[in-house]
């Protein structure tokens, strides 16, 4: 597959790894946060951590829209299906997220909720067209990558004059989350957040461009390198970050030049501004209330806003007390620092946001990396295949 396979070459990866070992200063620790869940996934799936020098550590950030979706929001979706009889259309990612009363969307479906998995907002529109007598609600989650498709869906619904379609909008914004991390309580404790730089999200940046990150590098003196999703992109970005740190620079660099420009996709941005506006505050699971971090539907499109249409009232639901997700999302603790990791909290029984989606720090570590935590070494009785 073009523009995919070439960026997964293992030989080149090893060579970039060798370069990193040469350039990372041995007397220093480097901590970089990869903000984006997709990067977390790539790092786990390809075993990138093994190719980095021991003094370069990747910290998994909160860039997983499913992980940061608060329980209260899923409760709303379940309510719409079970109590209001709406057809709730959702992406596959949210189906298994545990919500209140031991329910999830999958379990609500088992109780008779008409909950349908869709690949795209366009599919939800199609369902609304085909079933004019039923209310259809699209459960819209995601960062800035996913927001323009939702905006388009709402605009199309308005243009067509659909009378039975609305959107439960839970779209969140990347720059606000990064700011929140940089201003977290640990900052006051340590004087600075224990991070040396950020690997910036790949696809969010296609939409918003590289310009919005310039604020972080200037204001907080942290380098940002926007990286593509493939493993070579990630390794190259880490190398670029190490170089910035060594040279005392704090700039926004773009590794993903083949898809990201400084301005981003202006057409998509215009559409998003037309349909959405900022919420003054929004609850992020694990991070608490974050100001100006999420979007709601503008009054001009009010009839397509499920919250207005159904008069929904939001009820915040606190996380389990033993859950360390907040600290893990901010990069100050690791999954293995959490007392309930891998015992009570597993991908089958996720207690907190980091285990909920396969992109979350804890889920990724559990699925891909936990065998390294176990002290017993695995020996093969026979030599490994050539």
């Amino acid at each position: 597959m073009k523009y995919i396979d070439e960026f997964r070459d293992g030989d080149i990866a090893r060579k970039i790894g060798a370069r990193l070992r040469e350039e990372a200063l041995p007397e220093r620790q480097y901590s970089f946060m990869e903000f984006c869940g997709g990067h977390t996934h790539a790092i786990s799936r390809y075993g990138i951590a093994e190719l980095l020098p021991a003094n370069v550590r990747m910290v998994h950030g909160p860039g997983c829209p499913v992980c940061v979706l608060p329980i209260g929001r899923i409760d709303l979706a379940i309510q719409l299906a079970l109590e209001r009889g709406a057809i709730v259309c959702t992406y596959g990612d949210t189906m298994r997220v545990p919500a209140s009363d031991n329910l999830s969307l999958v379990r609500a479906k088992a109780r008779g909720g008409d909950i349908r998995m869709v690949y795209s907002g366009a599919d939800a529109l199609e369902i609304a067209r085909r079933e004019p007598d039923r209310e259809v609600v699209f459960f819209a989650i995601g960062f800035e990558t996913t927001t323009p498709p939702t905006a388009l869906t709402i605009r199309l619904a308005k243009d067509e004059g659909l009378k039975n379609f609305s959107v439960l909008c839970c779209h969140v914004l990347t720059p606000s989350a990064i700011t929140h991390i940089l201003e977290s309580p640990e900052v006051r404790q340590f004087g600075t957040v224990p991070l040396d730089g950020f690997v910036g999200p790949a696809h969010v940046s296609i939409v918003i461009g590289s310009a919005p990150y310039e604020h972080f590098s200037q204001e907080y003196r942290k380098p940002v390198v926007i990286a593509g999703f493939e493993p070579l992109d990630v390794m190259q970005a880490v190398l670029m970050l190490v170089r910035q740190v060594n040279e005392g620079r704090a700039e926004v660099e773009n590794e993903f030049t083949r898809a990201v420009s400084r301005d981003g996709n202006l057409h998509a941005q215009a559409l998003v501004s037309e349909v959405f506006e900022l919420r003054p505050s929004f609850e992020w699971r694990g991070l608490g209330e974050v100001p100006y971090s999420a979007l709601k539907i503008r009054p001009a499109f009010a009839e397509f806003d499920a919250e207005r249409r159904f008069g929904l009232g939001y009820r915040a639901v606190p996380d389990n007390k033993a859950c360390e997700c907040g600290a893990i999302l901010r990069g100050v603790k690791k999954p293995t620092d959490c007392k309930i990791f891998g015992t009570v909290c597993t991908p089958e029984n996720p207690v907190g946001s980091c285990m909920v989606s396969s992109e979350g720090a804890c889920a990724a570590h559990y699925s891909y990396g936990r065998f390294r935590d176990i002290p017993v070494r695995v020996e093969t009785a026979c030599p490994v295949l050539p």
Binding site: M1, I4, I12, A18, R19, E22, L51, V204, Q236, R258
Partner: protein, 80 residues
């Protein structure tokens, strides 16, 4: 976040729709967000919508940079 994949645009259809191709698979998606895309372009698809395009020159440049890196690196690039 954001599973998105570069695919080749092979046919444009009315209503800002297009057929894209990847590894022999074909799918219909929306190109409303990339109105300037033409047949032969590589568009990046997320949730059934093209959200951006691949710049082939930049892609080449990035790959070349990896390649040069590969030349410069010391030969003992072993996993530790």
């Amino acid at each position: 976040m954001c599973l998105a994949i570069p695919t080749r645009l092979i046919e444009i259809r009315p209503g800002a729709q297009a057929i894209v191709e990847l590894g022999g698979i074909r799918k219909q998606i929306s190109i409303a967000l990339v109105p300037d895309a033409v047949v032969g372009d590589y568009v990046i698809v997320h949730v059934g919508h093209a959200i951006g395009q691949i710049d082939p020159e930049e892609a080449e440049r990035t790959l070349q940079m990896f390649g040069e890196l590969a030349q410069l690196a010391t030969p003992t690039g072993k996993l530790h």
